[in-house]
Symmetry: D2
């Protein structure tokens, strides 16, 4: 049994907790942190968690938990990881590891210094399909890998902070490119060094400063090319596909829209269909068990098994660092219009360590997650990019699982992005 | 935590044990029974089970287990259930419950008499896709159900006893029709009484006395029609599909061959692709996590949660009994060529009870399961139905997960079906 | 070049004419008949046809056409065929050939007596996919055929007369079962005699006297089983699928809903998506070239090539007669609840002949065809089966290609079915 | 009726002629040219063409044909077009128009100067799916187009000259990128100017000097991005997919591998499955009517209808020129590693004209086309890139429709690429 502190009560914290408590699990979240005492308390009560806190340092240090899970907005990862490492606790951090490779490197150094167990919560390489496809690839079914394609597109994320490049570190690339890059890298082989990256990105639809659509290419040692496509402008649900091509074969994975589950309904059922599904009538493509299809279950299995067995998990902070280094090169290329080298610091490596003290944290919990789009097939997103009431631009609206409508708004005067729930 | 005795070390026992021990489970198989002491011992050692037995009564009575799982051939279900009920243990029995409704009814009465918790291990209504589709149906997305189709076809089962109608209770209908019937019934609504059944069945390919292909229709109170198609003659892998149609919508489920995972390999990888896959080169349709896709994980979750909560599981012995009653009507119709009424005894109902003594069990464990076909796309199954060496007809050959080749043979003189492993 | 008289200006006449004039064709419709002079005139003008008539006998006799195409309601096929045969003209008749085998036999005898060329316009065995699948089957790719499934379901036909069993000869079976039966028979082999049929049918949804949903089984000489599923109660578009299974392989054909063309649109485009598509927003499955996918193009190619070459077409009046004989057995079985023998008269065979006089025709043209459902994914068909205004029951409403709404109504007093266009 | 001269007797000439003569066409090829008199004669005899020639000038000038179709290798397009324009004949030229934009521009000027009708035979924008998807896009179903993806990959072309960059003008980009680029451009809108291109390309597998794999991005005026993926290294058949994404919707087209036709065969049928299919056992994805699915039928319909109506066809020489200009930018970018501007000469425009004289042509006919890969799923392409006998490297082997095996060989001493048929 693993005793866990969950940092963050947003949708990612919620998904993680549900997964950890789900099925016939022996693990428990014993402590939850949110910047807001009220949210922490409510979350604890709903999920059956005995203890909660609205003080980050306290949540990490003063708990019987052995493992800290960081489910906070990107700008808070470094501080939380540092505190956990200092407290000598195992730490699992959601994706992306940092907003930049420099931040990721600091996190990697923090856990190496104190020797704590650390895992990078990159769920999409852990989907059962991906795990099996990776095994077939390792077994030689593809021959030498020549090309990978990974695509994650949907109508845009749920929480305000995602749309604020200062807090998130960028746009669609930092949000989803991190998945696609690591998927491609996993098929090509982690022993192959990423050499250079090229990236196109643009703000095509939303009134934001970050890219809402990007396409990138990463060239690896040995000649393989890895392609990613990420977008917050896609219509029709969440498109989550991977393809691999090698000298001996090819693989196609579809994780969300064409998985052997198709439904037409003229009546609807008034509820949630699948993450980021658009509409709830007509032809729909529901997902059986989302936590499973998105890799959460097998990810935590590997993480906690590894922690118990004192071995490395499949996804380490080093992997998170490499992904950040590739993303850095992509952002640089987006500006320069040319290939940019992927810079991985010499001497940086995955590692473990022993234990550590702590510092004082603060800052809001991650209010993110994976709710469903409100936009029905029928309505046409009237507000996107247009003037909303009271000096705000509407970036996006969506229906929460509890039926309320959330709006992401941009203050026309200050440019600040906020969210509002009606 | 649930402490379990596993009866049977065949592939179904193996799949069940893997599922129960899998992911981050808190449950454990603490005792295993096989007719063969050697197999019991080996199984216990491989799966980390502390205790084993080759005496059925002993395995049930003299164990710290609280739950007995019956994973034995069909002709041994009744005895095992009776012993478990008498021993006051919760009992979960694999599908079909009985070989006939009469047998199933005896089992139902045995558990009702002693009041033990009882669950019917019908995994395919527990696949995550099916669970979600059932929920949507209950929520009204389909309107009133008019039609269901459930199809399970593959090139034939793995263990000799399946091919012996005296032991199994029939052919493809008893083997797989039980799944399809319960799937259809679940969508139509368990409150709707099955009225009558029509069935076509034939022995089209294999040199056996039971049907290797059948199509059935069940008409329900309210007018819905439920169609099943089962076959041991199908080529191309395991075809596992359900369809539902109602006044407001339609659902299509594909559980195995078109689930968003497609692979072409010219090289192969020398191993197992998916249950009953044919061949390992060319275009293949692997399955990410078979235990998940086949419903094992969610089935045991419901069973063990129900047992802990002292509530009924979704699938009870009563459900198993109704399925057997429908199968009886199908076999009768196959002979009469007309609709036959489904006869459900008055006063029979799902139920629980309290506790009980025990009797002396014996008999072989179930040698069944779900291994992969050996027949590659390339070779043409030369032996099927033709004379094998030494007075045997070859019914079927297949490759076991460990690489050995198993043959199902019929003694031309005695008609007895045996299996041989090379 | 073939000179053709088109009998009927309904949607089937329109589809046929478009196909015959389409692409770079050398054939021409030179004469068109409708009971209504106005419709005949309008049709002729729209399609560039030089001559029209509202007198059936005149349309057949007094024309420079060499070929007469019967695109009239089922109750007028016999008379039209008789007139054409008497006039010594080649005659192509739409499906089903007759309302009963007796009628079909009269038609067969009429063309045999005068020796005119005759073809049965069963388009769905002519889809390019079906033609190729049939070729692969003949080449041995499937081994011996064991099973076929053919399914045609949609929300119901377009013209009033279809819903009137007296005129059409029945319900969904006579409308669509004729396709499914001939598809199955073609895969199993036309040299195999259909022995017996079983059929379930019911009126599940619509306020009509004929079956709106049916499932049938036909057993052939040699043991193959052929299954059909037809429905006017299906939601989600037109489901048109065939499956074949043999000792060496299997085939799956999807003609309409999953053909490699998928579209999500939140905006719609205000128009026609595909025949019997429901709704025009959300996920849609359009069809590239419907005439091609439905077999019209290759059907007329075979018919006209055969006529020029003085050989038999792939589908003859004899085939139409066999299909009618199977349908007769199905209707008998629906009532008797048991297998019924398929009765094919001795001495009946496909054939040709030479020439003939003519008689006086009359009667309305076929107002049928393949328009699109109006029912959007969003609305719930409020009227189906419920009381409409003025003493009428609403059977069905649909949007015509020209945007108008057509209703099929049943007079509550007289039971008569009429159509109304708003 | 159109009277046509076919230049080239390779597989493209053969496919074109079959299409032009197919169905119930009124058009005829009346004259055929091949550099080899024997091939010209054989082709004429097989296809029922009354006249043949092995002299290019003669074939163009001395014929009753009104239209000349250029189905020759890329290096002979310019000369053939010039001769046709001078002879005052309408000219249709296969893709790509030129090897470079400069060549394409000369062709454009040649037809403009003499005013002859000219069409660019870009078949893949004419597939019925693409035509319908383009119509929906024009009707607003996608909103503003943001992204297109077009992919054409297979195991490599069939004729020696394709592998020789001097003759073909490049590798996979010039061969297939021309399709993908024009597909993307058609969805984005031909009124949108292509601004700049980025391209990655490499020689990953084959022992050639040109790219056998490339990925390109084209940015259009208005901000849309168009992505292409082309490869001669792909395994598993011919992958031909397009995707479109706009502010209101998305489209997915699959032209070859997942089109609603799936077949498993353990027996095979000893023949051709589909263009560039790999293997003929196991799961296969046949195509009903390839000429239809690949757009040939609708392409020639548009071309000949346009010619008769004296209007422009959908694809003009100007379109071919723009495509060449984009390809030029891609090749430049492949070397520079940065975005390169797409240079379209001012004053260049689509156009027509009136008539012209002629010059003396010569040169080999195009030996290309679309045969099927020999490589079965089982064998591992032992020769590719390895030393063949007698100082040759084997680039590729394939089975021709007539069963013979063709090898593409590279002379190790001279580097020359030749083909050999066994």
């Amino acid at each position: 049994m693993a005793k866990i502190s969950m940092l963050g009560t947003g949708l990612i914290g919620s998904f993680y907790t549900q997964t950890l408590h789900g099925l016939r699990s022996r693990d428990r979240v014993v402590n939850v942190y949110s910047r807001s005492a009220e949210r922490a308390k409510t979350f604890a009560s709903e999920k059956g968690i005995p203890r909660w806190s609205s003080d980050l340092r306290d949540a990490i240090q003063n708990s019987e938990s052995e493992i800290v899970i960081v489910g906070l907005p990107n700008d808070l990862h470094l501080e939380a990881v540092r505190l956990a490492a200092e407290a000598g606790k195992a730490v699992l951090c959601t994706k992306p590891l940092g907003r930049t490779a420099a931040e990721a490197r600091e996190m990697l150094q923090a856990v190496e210094k104190t020797g704590v167990f650390a895992g990078y919560l990159e769920d999409l390489v852990y989907t059962p399909k991906t795990l099996k496809a990776l095994a077939s690839t390792r077994n030689g079914a593809m021959g030498r890998i020549l090309w990978t394609r990974s695509r994650e597109t949907h109508p845009g994320p749920h929480s305000a902070w995602f749309w604020d490049a200062a807090r998130s570190g960028g746009g669609a690339i930092i949000d989803m490119g991190c998945h696609c890059i690591e998927i491609g890298r996993s098929f090509i082989g982690k022993d192959k060094r990423p050499l250079r990256a090229f990236c196109w990105g643009a703000t095509q639809v939303h009134p934001i400063k970050a890219e809402d659509h990007a396409i990138g290419l990463i060239e690896y040692e040995g000649g393989a090319i890895s392609q990613f496509e990420v977008s917050w402008t896609f219509r029709g649900g969440m498109d989550l596909r991977d393809e691999v091509s090698g000298t001996e074969g090819t693989i196609r994975l579809d994780h969300f829209l064409r998985t052997g589950f198709e439904m037409f309904t003229a009546a609807g059922e008034g509820g949630y269909v699948a993450e980021k599904a658009e509409g709830n009538i007509g032809w729909l493509f529901p997902v059986g068990d989302e936590a499973h299809e998105l890799g959460y279950i097998h990810m935590f299995q590997d993480m906690l098994d590894a922690w118990e067995a004192r071995r490395e998990p499949m996804e380490t902070f080093y992997d998170g660092y490499v992904v950040n280094a590739i993303i850095d090169a992509c952002y640089k290329s987006m500006k320069s219009g040319r290939w940019e080298p992927v810079e991985i610091a010499a001497g940086v490596a995955a590692g473990g360590g022993k234990q550590a003290p702590a510092t004082r944290p603060k800052g809001p919990e991650k209010a993110s997650g994976r709710p469903q789009e409100t936009r029905s097939g029928a309505d046409q997103d009237p507000g996107r990019g247009k003037s909303g009431k009271g000096g705000f631009l509407v970036i996006k609206t969506e229906r929460l699982p509890d039926g309320r409508i959330k709006s992401i708004l941009k203050d026309k005067a200050t440019g600040k992005v906020v969210e509002k729930i009606d």
